[in-house]
Every structure is written in structure tokens, then in C-alpha cells.
């Protein structure tokens, strides 16, 4: 093990800096605010820092390391030119309080992204401000809340979510002050229209749902569901986590939704960075536009007497602040760095984004088929069921390992750990909650047929391994199975020299 804090070089070890413009003694720090002891940071030279973090990186699995079939997370390849672009001074060194004349290039890119997202989703306007999917959900729900207040519908206090929804949906609505009504899925994992009809009423503010749902299944009755909610006076909110499955094939607008968030870190290849940053812009239909957080990029034609800019010979870009805006959800204008990367990703596909979707869905169905046929040929087809019956899935699919658990006490988590020993990141497990012993697989469009074939073979191999092996897995990873119960019961949350001894 290498610990950062065991590096304790001589006093003064660390990054060498130019001299200050005035000496420390001349600073007028109020006596009571003078720091009494130096921060207890470790003391490392640059070679030690570089080696430490490089070593840590070798103990981490990313998409670059291997196949990452983590359902619901859309772990697609992150094109490297995007990283080059995001470090250009024109994005790295600009400040949101600069005048519009300093920001024409950025405004142009924001405008292009807003227009593209609105076009692909069938919405009327987009704000890029929310910095994560969950924040997008919260922002849109806030817009709906203010809309209802404006039209005298304050009595709408409930938000409906299916029991298979992402956890952020109910959490975001609750943060805005709503009561959550969870409706059960039908037997086949799909939305239960009868349950929805029972749930809606004049207290319904909105329904939050993703389509395809978290089982990877397209909800065929979605238009009718929208109708039911609208008839009750509620709004339809589209959780865009699964947008990679439908882009160019259908849109939330066509399905009857009023608001939607996009996960740029899923669909548009902003790297996940070990947990973030993401970006969660939202799009809305006309009646909600005035409530969006601003500023939003707009453009006007150059007047005859106005000179061309470096950006355009026809347009001048500017900020626009919606009149009844809910205000801000982040201090500045969103995760611009993520938006720039996603713009570069979008430009690669342009009007052929549909091809991306097709390949994501092709890969998911192909892998599902390969796992099934491999299991059949190995005689272990009875170790799992489909999470939901379907002729075709969209970008991901679920399997229930309940039969395997029943037969030999091997659960979804054991299989997940077993896959780690075969060099794969594990799929999502135990989500959605409606599928017992659920394994949720999303290959994305950037995996080759060979990778999918090999994964299917290895997945089936893991199903055949004996229970003892799988309970002890993983064996080949930097550490063995980590004791999460121990971690929660013996909270050790920071470096502490005494505790380490």
C-alpha cells in the first residue's frame, strides 16, 4: 500500500512558487483569524505525487480498461479530442461574468447545443444550467411547480413515479416539496395504466417516467399515459437517462411529455470521471419556457451597421433571462466544460445521431441473444429469467438470477463479483427493485461484436462456477471482497495517524 500521508518530506517540500508581491509579515491578517497551525497536508515532491496517482489509477477500472456493461449508466467510449477541446483557453480560462462581447464563441456553442437538444427531444426550449441528471429533474419539477402556482393550481401536491423509477426521481420531487405516489408496475414490468388511472387526480402535479423504462423495455402505452395525466391536469416529465435508446427514433415531445432532462454524461459522452462531473440540461414545452433558469443563449441578426464577429457574419449571440424564471440551481451557467465536450461529440454524428441509437440497441439485443443462446448450448438456460418478457429490448436489458439463487445460493452480487475476475466491470445489480436478483446490462454502441461474444461466453461461464468460488470472488482484483458492513459500523473517514498505528 502507498499512502499519501506517509510522504513527509522536509519542511517546505512541495510545489515551488514565485515570490509574493508583498512579504508575509506585511499582511494585515486580523489577529484572531491568523491560522495557528499549518494544514496537516502530506509533503511530497512532484515525482512522488505523479507516482502515487499513477499507482492509484492502476487500481481503478474505467471504460478504457475494459468492457463496462453497467446498466442505466451508458458507459460509452469518451472520444479523446473532446478532452483536448475542453482544455483550450477559450473554455478553461473564461469567466461567466464577462460581457457578451467576450463570449461570442461560447454563446454560439451553447445556442447550438440548446437547439440540437430541443430538436432531438421535441421540446420548445432548453436550458443548459443543471449540472447533473438529478439536478435537471429537480429544476424541471420546480418549473412545473411555479407554473401550477401561476395558474392557481397550488393544490397539486403529488408526483407520481413508477416503482421501477430511478431513485433520483422521487428524491428530486421530494426536495421540491412534493408528496410521492409510487405506482406498481404491471406483471410484465411495464407501466400499469389502470394503476395510473387510479393514482391521478386533481392533486397530481406531474408524473416522472423514463422510456424505455429501467428494464430496457419501450412502454407501448406511453401516449395514453400522457393523455391520462394531462386529462387530470398534471404534467409529464421525461427522465432522459435512457435517451440513448430512442434518439432519432421517437422523442419525448412525440410521446406527450412537457419536460425532459438529458444526461450529457450518458448520451453525449461527457466522461463519468469516477462519479462526476455530469451535466443535466432540461428541455420544456412552450407553457413552461418562462420558468426556466437563465441565462439561456439566443441570437439576433447582425444589424447592417454591425461588423461581423469572428464567430458569425450573420448573428450576434446574447443571453436571455426568462421572465418568470425559478432562478438559479447552480451559481453560474452550468457545467460548460461538459457542454463543450458534448457539443464535440454531437458534431461527430450530426444528423446521423440515429445511427448511434441503432448501434446501442443492436448491441443490447445482440448481447441478450448471445447470452441466451450460449446458456442454452451450455445447458444452463434455467439459471435465469428475463427481467421482463420482450421480443426486443432497447439499449439495455435485465435478467433475474432468482433461479440461480434458488438452485445454488448464488445471487446477483456473487455473479457480479465473479465477472470482475474475468476482467469485466460488473453490470448494475439489484436495480430495478422490481426484478428479483436483477442484473442489468447495457453494452452501448461503442463495443465490438467480439467483445460482446466474449462477454456472453464468460457470463455463462460464471453462471456455471460453483457457489464456493463465487462467494469468494473476486480473487484477481487489487483487493478481495470489501467489507461494507465493517466500513459502516467502524466509520473511518479520514487519515488519522493514531488510528493507523
Amino acid at each position: 500500500m502507498s499512502h499519501l500521508h506517509t510522504h513527509q518530506g522536509a519542511e517546505g517540500t512541495g510545489y515551488a512558487q514565485p515570490s509574493p508581491l508583498a512579504s508575509a509579515e506585511t499582511l494585515n491578517i486580523p489577529d484572531g483569524l491568523r491560522r495557528q497551525r499549518l494544514p496537516a497536508l502530506p509533503r511530497l515532491s512532484e515525482p512522488e505525487v505523479v507516482r502515487h496517482y499513477t499507482w492509484l489509477s492502476t487500481r481503478n477500472f474505467g471504460i478504457d480498461t475494459g468492457f463496462y456493461p453497467l446498466g442505466s449508466c451508458t458507459m460509452k467510449h469518451n472520444p479523446r479530442v473532446n478532452e483536448v477541446i475542453a482544455q483550450l483557453p477559450g473554455i478553461a480560462d473564461i469567466h461567466p461574468l464577462q460581457p457578451e462581447s467576450h463570449l461570442q464563441g461560447l454563446l454560439c456553442i451553447f445556442y447550438e447545443m440548446q437547439e440540437m437538444l430541443a430538436t432531438c427531444s421535441g421540446m420548445d426550449a432548453v436550458t443548459l444550467q443543471p449540472v447533473a441528471g438529478a439536478q435537471g429533474e429537480f429544476t424541471a419539477i420546480r418549473c412545473i411547480q411555479e407554473y401550477h402556482r401561476m395558474i392557481g393550481q397550488d393544490g397539486r401536491t403529488k408526483v407520481i413515479v413508477p416503482d421501477s423509477a430511478h431513485g433520483t426521481n422521487p428524491a428530486s420531487a421530494a426536495m421540491a416539496g412534493y408528496e410521492i405516489v409510487e405506482i406498481p408496475s404491471a406483471e410484465d414490468g411495464r407501466l400499469d395504466l389502470e394503476a395510473l388511472r387510479t393514482a391521478v387526480g386533481d392533486d397530481t402535479a406531474a408524473m416522472m417516467i423514463t422510456n424505455p423504462n429501467t428494464l430496457g423495455i419501450f412502454e407501448p402505452d406511453i401516449a395514453e399515459a400522457s393523455q391520462i395525466v394531462h386529462d387530470a391536469g398534471g404534467q409529464m416529465y421525461y427522465d432522459g437517462a435512457n435517451f440513448n435508446a430512442i434518439l432519432g427514433k421517437t422523442s419525448p415531445g412525440l410521446m406527450g411529455f412537457d419536460a425532459v432532462h438529458y444526461n450529457l454524461h450518458k448520451t453525449f459522452a461527457q466522461p463519468h470521471g469516477g462519479g462526476g462531473p455530469g451535466s443535466g440540461p432540461i428541455g420544456v414545452k412552450k407553457h413552461l419556457v418562462d420558468f426556466l433558469p437563465g441565462p439561456i443563449a439566443k441570437r439576433v441578426p447582425l444589424r447592417k451597421d454591425e461588423p461581423e464577429t469572428e464567430v458569425s457574419d450573420a448573428w450576434r449571440y446574447h443571453w436571455w433571462r426568462p421572465s418568470k424564471s425559478i432562478g438559479k440551481v447552480q451559481q453560474w451557467h452550468g457545467n460548460a466544460g461538459a457542454i463543450i465536450r458534448s457539443w464535440a461529440f454531437y458534431r461527430r454524428y450530426g444528423n446521423e445521431l440515429e445511427t448511434m441509437t441503432e448501434h446501442a440497441v443492436l448491441n443490447a439485443n445482440y448481447l441478450r441473444h448471445r447470452i441466451t443462446s450460449e446458456a442454452e448450448s451450455q445447458g444452463v438456460a434455467d439459471s435465469f429469467n428475463d427481467g421482463a418478457p420482450a421480443d426486443v429490448v432497447k439499449h439495455e436489458f435485465t435478467l433475474s438470477l432468482a433461479p440461480l439463487k434458488e438452485a445454488k445460493g448464488v445471487g446477483a452480487m456473487d455473479v457480479a463479483k465473479g465477472l470482475l475476475d474475468h476482467g469485466y466491470m460488473a453490470p448494475t445489480v439489484y436495480f430495478p427493485l422490481v426484478v428479483p436478483e436483477c442484473v442489468m446490462v447495457e453494452p452501448t454502441e461503442t463495443e465490438s461484436k467480439e467483445v460482446l461474444d466474449a462477454f456472453a461466453a464468460n457470463f455463462v461461464k460464471v453462471l456455471q462456477e460453483d457457489a464456493e468460488t463465487l462467494h469468494a470472488a473476486p480473487k484477481s482484483t487489487p483487493v478481495g471482497r470489501v467489507d461494507e458492513v465493517h466500513a459502516a459500523r467502524n466509520l473511518w473517514l479520514k487519515h488519522d495517524t493514531e488510528q493507523e498505528e
Binding site: L33, I94, Q135, G275, G276, V329, Q331
Partner: protein, 456 residues
């Protein structure tokens, strides 16, 4: 596009393995009534080279602060992030990983985040830090809702928090959005003429759930009075202090003067300005707040063989487990930017972060001294100590001064009427470790010249 899709051109082979003939069959489950049938009305695909050329042209048209003489801060601060940070952060094992839900193959990021927690906790003087929230504004907002969850039962002022009246409107707006759903009332604390907190009136906040103040405050003032605030508020009211983290190299850690929660905009440690995002929010607290805090936390544990190992812990607070009863809806956070912060701190070391703070404060003080000596310019808070920034009273409109300076290639700072409409003649200027004495001379010369000429 061709270079991104490995199975392009092999569709029929894969389809036929499934007994299908066309891609359309994969989408047969989407009812006709909601099908999009036309090609997306967007421009055609581009190659990497074309994208890069467009990006260079468009982003090149922006005016980067590094290309000008700049005194704009107001919450984001120009800094120098050592080159090693950018090299290391682009390692694909960090860059392209998801949240470390499978700890056995995520030890690298988990340990790095545990080390981040350790360094942040020590810097702010509290026992616990999470692995980041979105930014400084959401950190402040989440701290206030956290304080309500912890203190509301015993609070004399139920569902009430107090916030410094100097907090800029955009940050206040975020606080409003995060607190309104819980029915939390946000009251504002008064300040004295000299820019410090009015401690006498702050006593009114005692018995509420929490109080949010900033050190340095939005006018850059280091307010010594805040060290006595916890005593005024009492045990049952959370003291929440927002910090500029580099200042803590020389300024007392708020934990040492009674802060219960410390939050802040992490950007000055590790991250370029990046137009304000992605940056990262610092969130640290005392143990009493641990189970009500937002965001992810890494714990040190053991593996099946008793070896040291790390994993996410206390997840039962989070949305994926607790759903609508979660402490926050946050899922994706700013881990990679926090990792940049960790690397920056590791490179600096104890003396390095002290020296960085000295450079920031020294630049500010040098600028202040020269402004003070310039005819027709005066300091709004002449008796205060400042870190990074301070407000100048001008003989004319700040907006005019900024336009004038822009003609000379100087980004002069923030027209304070952007925040407070009545402050039309006040300019907030910021100096950091990246400010040179030539920059200062240039601003003082041109602003002095403008002040001399302007009618006022």
C-alpha cells in the same frame, strides 16, 4: 462517426444471428403514433479534424482571462494549477470510470477520495468531509437543509435559517430553490457600515436551525467577528461558514472557531475557471451532521483477507437506497474535479498552501494600497482586511469604467450593480496569485486616468 462505432458495416451479420433482417425490427416496439420518421434536421457529421478546427475558431473567439490583464473574481478565482494535475487527471482509469459501486476494482478512486476527505477535513478544521457536491452555491444550500434536518426538532425558530445579507443574488437564488420545498424560511443578517457582520443583530438568529456566513465575505473582507458567532448562536443553531479554500493556508480554519459545517467553492484548489463549471463544492461537518449530510462518503475498511480496502459508506442516506426520504437527490457529483483538488493539495503541501494564500493576499493588498493612493478612487471598506478582492468607490458608473478599461485590454472586475442595483458606482476588483505588479500598475494607471476625466 465511422471511427466511433466498431460494428458499423456488420449490422446484417449481427441481425441475422438474431433471426432479423433489418434494423427496423429492433424498433418495431415503438408505436407508429410516436415514431419519428424523418432524418433529424441537423447538419451532417464531421471528422475529428473538422470539429477541432471549429472548436478552435469558436472558442478562440472568446476572450480568455489568461490573454488579458484581468481583475474579475467574484466567486471564481484565476489560479495556476500545476501541469502534473492535468496529465494525471487524463488517465483513462480515472477519467472513464463510473461511481465506485464495485469497490474491488475502484480502489484507486476510492482511496484518492478518502485522501481528499482527509485533506479537506484538516484544512477546514472539521472531522468529516464528503467527496464533493456540485459547487459552492449548492454546498451552501445543502448545508442549510441539512441544518434544518438536524436541529428543527429542538429549534425555537422552527424551519428557519439565517443567511448573510451580502450573499450575491445568484447564490441566494440557489439557496431559495433548495429550501422552498421544505417550507424553510430564509431570513437575512445585517452588516455594519464597515462590511462586517452586525453581531448584535445576529443574536436574533440564535434558536434558528442554522446560520450561513462567508469568510472572506463577498466583498473580500476577513471578518474577525465571525470567530465569536458560535457563542452567540448557541449549541442548537448550526454555524455554517463558506470559505475560499486557499485562504485557509493562512486564515484560521472555521472549525477552530466553532463552525459546525464548512462549505465552499473548491475551484481555486485544482480547477481552472472553466466558465464556472464543472467546479466542485466542498462540504465538511461535525459528527452530529454526518447522517444527515448530502453526497457520497468513502470509508476505510478491510477486504475478505483483512487487508486495507476502501468503499462507499453510509449509502442509506442516498437516493438510490432511500429514494424520496434521501438527504439529497444528488447522484452524479464532481469527483474528477475534486480529484484535481486533491492532487493540487498533495503537490502544495503545508508550506505550499500557506505560500499560495500569502501570494493571493499579498497581491490583493498591493492592489489595494495603490488604489488607495489614486486620486478620486477610494475603498468602500478602508479599514477592513481583504483576501483576493475588495470594493472600490468610483467617481462615476462602474459600467462606464469597465467599458473604458476593456478598450485597453483590461478586464476590470465586477460592476457591483450586477448584484446590488443601488451600487452603480462601485467596482469589485480581484487579485490572485496570478496577478503581477505590471497588471496592477496597468489597472491603476488606466482606472486613475478614467477617474480623473469622468464627470462626477
Amino acid at each position: 462517426m465511422v471511427d466511433q462505432l466498431p460494428n458499423l458495416g456488420r449490422e446484417s451479420e449481427m441481425l441475422s444471428a438474431m433471426g432479423m433482417e433489418s434494423m427496423d425490427e429492433l424498433f418495431a416496439d415503438i408505436p407508429d403514433e410516436v415514431r419519428m420518421n424523418a432524418t433529424l434536421p441537423l447538419p451532417g457529421p464531421q471528422s475529428e479534424e473538422e470539429i477541432l478546427a471549429d472548436a478552435r475558431r469558436l472558442l478562440g473567439a472568446n476572450v480568455a482571462l489568461s490573454q488579458r490583464v484581468s481583475f474579475l473574481g467574484a466567486g471564481l478565482y484565476r489560479n495556476f494549477v500545476p501541469s502534473a494535475v492535468f496529465q494525471l487527471i487524463n488517465r483513462g482509469e480515472f477519467l472513464t470510470a463510473y461511481t465506485p459501486y464495485q469497490p474491488e476494482v475502484s480502489q484507486g478512486m476510492l482511496q484518492a477520495m478518502w485522501e481528499f476527505q482527509s485533506m479537506v477535513a484538516d484544512l477546514v478544521g472539521l472531522p468529516i468531509s464528503n467527496v464533493s457536491v456540485y459547487d459552492g452555491s449548492t454546498a451552501a444550500a445543502e448545508a442549510l437543509t441539512c441544518a434544518v434536518r438536524v436541529h428543527n426538532r429542538k429549534a425555537l425558530q422552527k424551519d428557519t435559517v439565517w443567511v448573510s445579507g451580502l450573499i450575491p443574488p445568484d447564490r441566494m437564488s440557489v439557496i431559495h430553490n433548495y429550501t422552498q420545498g421544505g417550507g424553510i424560511e430564509v431570513k437575512t443578517l445585517k452588516h455594519n457600515e464597515d462590511g462586517t457582520l452586525d453581531l448584535a443583530s445576529a443574536a436574533r438568529a440564535s434558536g434558528s436551525c442554522g446560520v450561513y456566513v462567508e469568510q472572506p465575505n463577498p466583498f473580500g473582507i476577513l471578518d474577525e467577528g465571525l470567530t465569536g458567532l458560535k457563542e452567540i448562536l448557541g449549541e442548537n443553531t448550526a454555524l455554517i461558514v463558506g470559505v475560499q479554500p486557499t485562504s485557509l493556508g493562512i486564515i484560521e480554519a472555521p472549525g477552530e472557531y466553532g463552525a459546525d459545517i464548512v462549505v465552499g467553492e473548491g475551484q481555486p484548489l485544482g480547477s481552472p475557471l472553466t466558465f464556472g463549471g464543472p467546479v466542485y463544492g466542498i462540504f465538511a461537518c461535525k459528527e452530529a451532521y454526518l447522517r444527515q449530510m448530502p453526497g457520497r462518503i468513502v470509508g476505510r475498511s478491510v477486504d475478505s483477507k483483512g487487508r486495507e480496502a476502501y468503499c462507499l459508506t453510509l449509502s442509506t442516506r442516498e437516493q438510490h437506497i432511500r429514494r424520496h426520504r434521501a438527504t439529497s437527490n444528488i447522484c452524479t457529483n464532481e469527483t474528477l474535479i475534486a480529484l484535481m483538488g486533491a492532487m493540487h493539495m498533495a503537490l502544495l503541501g503545508p508550506e505550499g498552501i500557506r505560500d499560495l494564500a500569502i501570494r493571493n493576499m499579498a497581491a490583493c493588498q498591493s492592489l489595494k494600497a495603490q488604489i488607495e493612493d489614486t486620486p478620486r478612487l477610494s475603498l468602500l471598506h478602508p479599514d477592513a482586511a481583504h483576501y483576493n478582492e475588495f470594493a472600490i468607490s468610483l467617481p462615476g458608473k462602474a459600467a462606464d469604467a469597465l467599458r473604458y478599461l476593456d478598450e485597453y485590454g483590461i478586464i476590470g472586475g465586477l460592476d457591483l450593480s450586477t448584484w446590488y442595483s443601488e451600487m452603480t458606482n462601485q467596482l469589485l476588483v480581484c487579485a490572485t496569485d496570478q496577478t503581477s505588479s505590471e497588471d496592477i500598475d496597468s489597472l491603476v494607471r488606466h482606472l486613475g486616468h478614467w477617474a480623473k476625466e469622468v464627470k462626477g
